[in-house]
């Protein structure tokens, strides 16, 4: 038992170390700044600039959070503060089911429903032209995928706020909505931030569903209707192929390392916020 535990605790270190070791030959040959900031991705001539992939990942993730964040916060408020209890009881298994759907199914749904919606309806509305395989499609699919996950955490957070706090505010003559805005939301704020942080780290690493709708073109996206090429897609699409190119293998490992580090940082930051918040609110 304890051997398993130790192994599990060591896992992040082992993975991180392994990735670092595998990407060493690339790091040995190129400056870190150049790898992270250069936009030139020409593996054949030995140029490995990761900026397009990093930026695509950031775009897709941030836009998905912009969509999912307000939806989740407002739904959590409605479900915990206004809706009859029965609705919450029904919603919980529904979100569990949604969270358990394999991501490839979300990808197919993205191709069938979201890509055409973006190219035929949303883009013309904004005066843009696109095939639909774009940052926005990726972000919408991602948003739908992380909503159940983030919503579940937010519901727990709102439910953990004592009702007496609301009673205190109401008894001072505040209306229900004023109370929610200035007392409940403020009390929940650190929790909301960390829930979104956890959603962010999950969205950042999501691979298949995004890869299917985002276009996978190596450019710096200049808007949500342009295609992009996020890091996980780069790795999934290319690993095992073209490994005869020198350092290509090492470059993909470095991509995985970037992904790993960013996700770890988001995750840790979110968890630290939760811990600090629990200390303060006691």
């Amino acid at each position: 038992m304890s051997l398993w535990l130790i192994l599990m605790l060591a896992m992040p270190v082992l993975i991180g170390g392994g990735l670092l070791w595998k990407s060493w030959s690339l790091l040995h040959d190129h400056a870190l700044g150049e790898l992270l900031l250069s936009t030139r991705w020409r593996p054949l001539s030995g140029e490995f600039g990761f900026a397009p992939f990093i930026l695509s990942s950031l775009w897709v993730t941030l836009v998905s959070l912009l969509i999912a964040g307000p939806v989740c916060v407002l739904s959590a408020i409605h479900l915990t503060q206004y809706a009859p209890r029965i609705v919450l009881k029904v919603m919980q298994p529904v979100t569990d089911i949604l969270a358990g759907i394999p991501s490839v199914i979300y990808g197919v749904w993205g191709i069938v429903a979201i890509v055409p919606l973006v190219s035929r309806n949303l883009a013309p509305l904004m005066g843009a032209e696109t095939t639909g395989y774009s940052i926005l499609s990726g972000a919408i699919v991602l948003a739908v995928m992380i909503i159940p996950f983030v919503l579940n955490i937010l519901i727990e957070i709102f439910r953990s706020i004592p009702i007496e706090l609301q009673e205190a505010s109401l008894s001072l003559g505040a209306s229900r909505w004023y109370t929610i805005k200035y007392v409940t939301l403020r009390k929940a704020l650190p929790g909301i931030v960390s829930a979104l942080g956890l959603g962010l780290s999950r969205a950042f690493g999501e691979t298949i569903a995004v890869l299917m709708v985002v276009g996978n073109v190596t450019i710096i996206p200049r808007g949500v209707f342009q295609p992009g090429y996020p890091l996980p897609a780069l790795i999934a699409n290319n690993y095992g192929e073209m490994l005869s190119i020198p350092m290509y293998d090492s470059a993909l490992m470095f991509g995985a390392l970037i992904l790993f580090v960013i996700v770890m940082v988001f995750n840790l930051a979110a968890r630290l916020t939760i811990i600090r918040y629990e200390k303060v609110s006691q």
Partner: protein
């Protein structure tokens, strides 16, 4: 001698899922006196108090019937804005629940809702109410710190000051000393004796000695019913029912 009645509860019943928590309650609460609601835990004291400022509204499972008259106005069956009704009453709960903001803003919260937003006026009022709750000297140098940084006893006095700041006529206090140390409890009790000159105080407790120290008028509840109500003197020395006598002797808890 007939005192002025600030609150009159008539035929109040409250049900949750078919279970009757309050059964046909009829009580009168005299003005500028301390009325203690006494009874073993679970008998409905908190629920009765919450119905007096309509906090029962936020529990969809609670069904309330009957009348509660405050200054002869029925607050249950009215179209009047519920926030105006609640402003007439300051609430002090079993444990202090400071709002998640600074000490200053805890007091200013209610003032701002009532439309007082001018900075220098707010400053004056905040100081005034903190003094009234005997907290000013302890916090005057740290008004911008979060209220959660205060001790529990200080937090409870902050909650009192916050309640007084909306200029209520009634103070509803639900076992306000149960989470406090003896010294803080004493401070709160002393405060109540001062405050009854200007406020009608309703105090829930299950501590007999506290009731004896503070009460002018006693309402004794048992299993959702009012068993007896009388001036304190009469209640403690000439209880009328068998249940009351048993409770006063300490054989019911």
């Amino acid at each position: 001698m007939e005192a002025n009645h600030k609150i009159r509860v008539e035929n109040l019943s409250l049900r949750v899922n078919g279970h009757e928590i309050l059964k046909d309650i009829n009580v009168s609460i005299p003005e500028n006196k301390i009325t203690v609601i006494l009874g073993p835990s679970g008998c409905g004291k908190t629920t009765l108090m919450k119905s007096m400022n309509r906090l029962t509204d936020i529990y969809p499972e609670m069904h309330v019937r009957g009348r509660i008259l405050i200054d002869e106005e029925d607050i249950l069956n009215t179209h009047k804005d519920v926030t105006a009704i609640r402003k007439k009453m300051g609430l002090l709960s079993q444990r202090p629940y400071p709002l998640p903001m600074s000490i200053y803003n805890n007091i200013a919260f209610g003032l701002r809702i009532s439309g007082r937003k001018k900075r220098d006026l707010l400053d004056k009022r905040v100081e005034h109410y903190l003094k009234q709750a005997s907290l000013w000297e302890e916090v005057k140098g740290r008004l911008r710190e979060p209220a959660s940084s205060l001790s529990i006893g200080q937090q409870q006095r902050l909650c009192l000051a916050r309640g007084l700041a909306v200029d209520p006529e009634i103070i509803l206090a639900d076992e306000p000393t149960s989470a406090l140390d003896p010294i803080s409890s004493q401070e709160i009790e002393k405060k109540f004796l001062d405050l009854k000159q200007d406020y009608t105080i309703v105090l829930v407790t299950h501590i007999l000695r506290q009731a004896a120290r503070l009460a002018d008028h006693v309402i004794f509840m048992y299993l959702g019913e009012v068993i007896e109500q009388a001036p304190a003197e009469e209640f403690f020395h000439h209880p009328r029912t068998e249940i009351t006598r048993a409770y006063l002797k300490g054989s019911i808890n």
